[in-house]
């Protein structure tokens, strides 16, 4: 049986990365994510992996992409200010379809903000931080165990769909310590990027298979192909064709939209008869469950929809909850980001936004108050 160990979220993230097969990390120090770098600096060489601290956030993003091109699974970790700097090459990874995982342990912004108070203010930066249009996968854990599991998932998704995948932690989840049972390596499902089944002569680096994802040859494996951030044809060569442009941008979205059900991860608690449903993620969801239980004790039929996959936005799951529930409470540690997205799928009059943007973690009472008020309103 796996041993229970006391560890913090950032640590679970680092060992999750190694368990997922990551063998390259490049990063730049920034609180509250630095433990991930520190742990991997020590652990990676022991498994034959490589760690490098680069000169800045942009460089660390470039280095992980370079390493990934050679077939080595790669990860970087940062916080909001660094995440902003990385956006340039996150866009590059989306366009050139290079698997990589970016961990963003969120802190309060904008700018240097309040180092390093917890916040969930990068929901929209995760979705729209780059210029131009492309699909995005962002996952958000709310426990230390989930930090481990979702790091593995994020690496798997990045490999399977050939794209950058964002792991949105927050300072609370990153630094919180819990006793966790880490699964045996044999129990973990590992996915690897598809390799070409044709030889170098026939290989077209950007011709998608029926799943919308092109097989990816490693640099140095004899395939000799070109990669660019420009719009490109199936050979990876620059193209100005309008048709190819539209096809490419469509595919950068459709390759994940077509399997959205499969990549939409969420948990439901007390949802079956719930009249007031809290929709939350990350640290807020962790607090919300206590509030939901307390509301039930006071006679309000409350439930929780915990979003784990934040992007692509789980619109079907949210719509379904919105149709049944009388009121929806959306607590988030920002000025109101996720709530706007929820209101695209649930009528605004049902939705109540509960915000905290002072750098503090929600208290259960704060969410409970909103649930009870909403429950009372209904009665």
């Amino acid at each position: 049986m796996a041993k229970v160990r006391l560890m913090q979220g950032n640590q679970a993230c680092a060992i999750g990365a190694i368990a997922a097969g990551v063998r390259f990390f490049a990063g730049y120090p920034i609180t509250p994510s630095t433990e991930i770098a520190e742990i991997l600096a020590e652990k990676l060489p022991a498994v034959g992996g490589k760690f490098i601290q680069m000169e800045d956030e942009i460089a660390s993003m470039g280095a992980v992409l370079g390493a990934s091109l050679t077939g080595v699974k790669s990860i970087t970790a940062t916080s909001g200010p660094g995440f902003s700097l990385k956006q340039e090459l996150i866009g590059y990874a989306a366009m050139a379809e290079i698997p990589v995982v970016i961990v963003n342990v969120q802190r309060l912004g904008p700018s240097t903000g309040k180092p390093t108070a917890p916040a969930q203010g990068d929901v929209m930066q995760a979705r729209w931080g780059t210029h131009g249009d492309h699909g995005v996968i962002a996952l958000s854990p709310s426990s230390v165990r989930e930090c481990f599991d979702l790091t593995v998932k994020a690496v798997n998704f990045s490999e399977r769909f050939r794209m950058p995948v964002i792991l949105l932690l927050d300072e609370v989840i990153g630094h919180m310590r819990e006793g966790v049972e880490i699964p045996e390596v044999s129990q973990i499902k590992i996915e690897n990027r598809k390799q070409p089944i044709v030889g170098p002569e026939e290989y077209e680096a950007y011709r998608p298979d029926s799943d919308g994802v092109p097989p990816m040859a490693a640099f140095g494996s004899g395939y000799r192909y070109h990669i660019t951030g420009l719009v490109h044809d199936y050979h990876g060569m620059p193209s100005e064709s309008d048709e190819l442009t539209e096809e490419l941008i469509d595919r950068l979205h459709s390759k994940i939209e077509r399997v959205k059900d499969e990549i939409t991860l969420y948990d439901e608690e007390f949802i079956d008869d719930a009249e007031v449903v809290v929709i939350a993620f990350g640290a807020s969801a962790r607090v919300a469950i206590d509030a939901v239980k307390a509301a039930r004790e006071q006679g309000v039929k409350a439930g929780l929809l915990k979003l784990i996959t934040i992007w692509p936005f789980p619109s079907e799951v949210v719509s379904k909850v919105g149709q049944k529930a009388q009121k929806i409470i959306v607590p988030e540690m920002n000025y109101g980001q996720l709530v706007g997205e929820i209101e695209r799928y649930i009528p605004r009059e049902k939705v109540i936004s509960v915000r905290r943007y002072d750098g503090g973690l929600f208290k259960p009472e704060q969410i409970l108050e909103a649930i009870v008020a909403a429950g009372g309103e209904r009665v």
Partner: protein
């Protein structure tokens, strides 16, 4: 087969460079160097940034990547560290390498990763139409310096040497054979090597600065370049207005990826470096 045909993706030609541009000469010098060294084309990666120079990677028949503006060295560092057995060559321009990529340039040199960087130095941002770069000489005209440029240019060679590069050399498009020789030496050097390859941009730089045709600009390269050996015997006043070509700086230093292999060996024995 000519080296140029063997190592270029001929189906991608003609190239996008303007008539008279020197970039093709530098590109040809690089592939001749690769040919002379007999590098395995399956184990050689060409990494470029953004700009006129950086389009060269697409024409070359290796694993090639045209990265983002200024970032070629960051990708190259990841590639080389992840797979030290690969030969990694970076093609960049003066703006790409020393303005937007300046921080990466000095740190790649300091780290001494085994990467050979060839800077296609045309003194200007050509692709965007002639704005000044950190290598534009003071007094020159540029679209963004219509009254004359008031900034001093970097001396790339001195910058690279000070930052830690183990091999630094300079050549020109006119001195094509020398350029090949220097790229060969750069690739052979164990560590970070820089070749400052001066090239003419008759359209976006030469025309605005009344430097004449591409031939006139190459004649200028011939007439103003002084070989390092000759320069060593000349007085400072004799070198005024001239620039020095050839091997400018060489040293030896521990190479990063080789040092990292030692870290792996220590970690796998369960020891920390004393």
């Amino acid at each position: 087969m000519m080296a140029t045909q063997k190592y270029l993706r001929c189906s991608t030609l003609p190239h996008i460079w303007c008539p008279g541009c020197g970039n093709g000469i530098i590109l040809a010098a690089i592939v001749r160097a690769i040919d002379r060294l007999g590098l395995d084309s399956k184990k050689t990666v060409i990494v470029s940034g953004i700009g006129c120079s950086s389009r060269a990677s697409g024409y070359m028949n290796f694993d090639t990547i045209h990265t983002a503006h200024g970032r070629a060295l960051t990708f190259a560092t990841g590639i080389k560290l992840a797979k030290p057995e690969l030969n990694v060559i970076v093609i960049t321009g003066d703006g790409d390498a020393t303005a937007i990529g300046g921080n990466h340039f000095i740190h790649a040199a300091r780290r001494n990763v085994d990467i050979t960087t060839i800077i296609f130095n045309n003194s200007i941002y050509g692709m965007t139409g002639g704005q000044y770069s950190p290598l534009t000489p003071a007094g020159s005209k540029a679209t963004t310096a219509p009254f004359g440029h008031i900034e001093r240019p970097f001396d790339i060679a001195a910058l690279a040497a000070a930052a830690g590069a183990v091999y630094v050399a300079r050549s020109t498009a006119f001195h094509a054979a020398l350029t090949t020789d220097l790229v060969v030496k750069g690739i052979e050097s164990k560590g970070f090597a820089v070749i400052d390859a001066i090239t003419q941009c008759p359209i976006s730089y030469g025309r605005r600065n009344k430097m004449g045709s591409a031939v006139d600009m190459m004649t200028w390269q011939r007439d103003n370049a002084v070989f390092a050996q000759a320069a060593a015997r000349m007085q400072p006043e004799e070198l005024k207005g001239k620039f020095i070509i050839g091997e400018l700086f060489q040293t030896q230093a521990p190479e990063y990826t080789a040092e990292y292999e030692k870290i792996i060996a220590l970690a796998q024995k369960g020891e920390k470096k004393k």
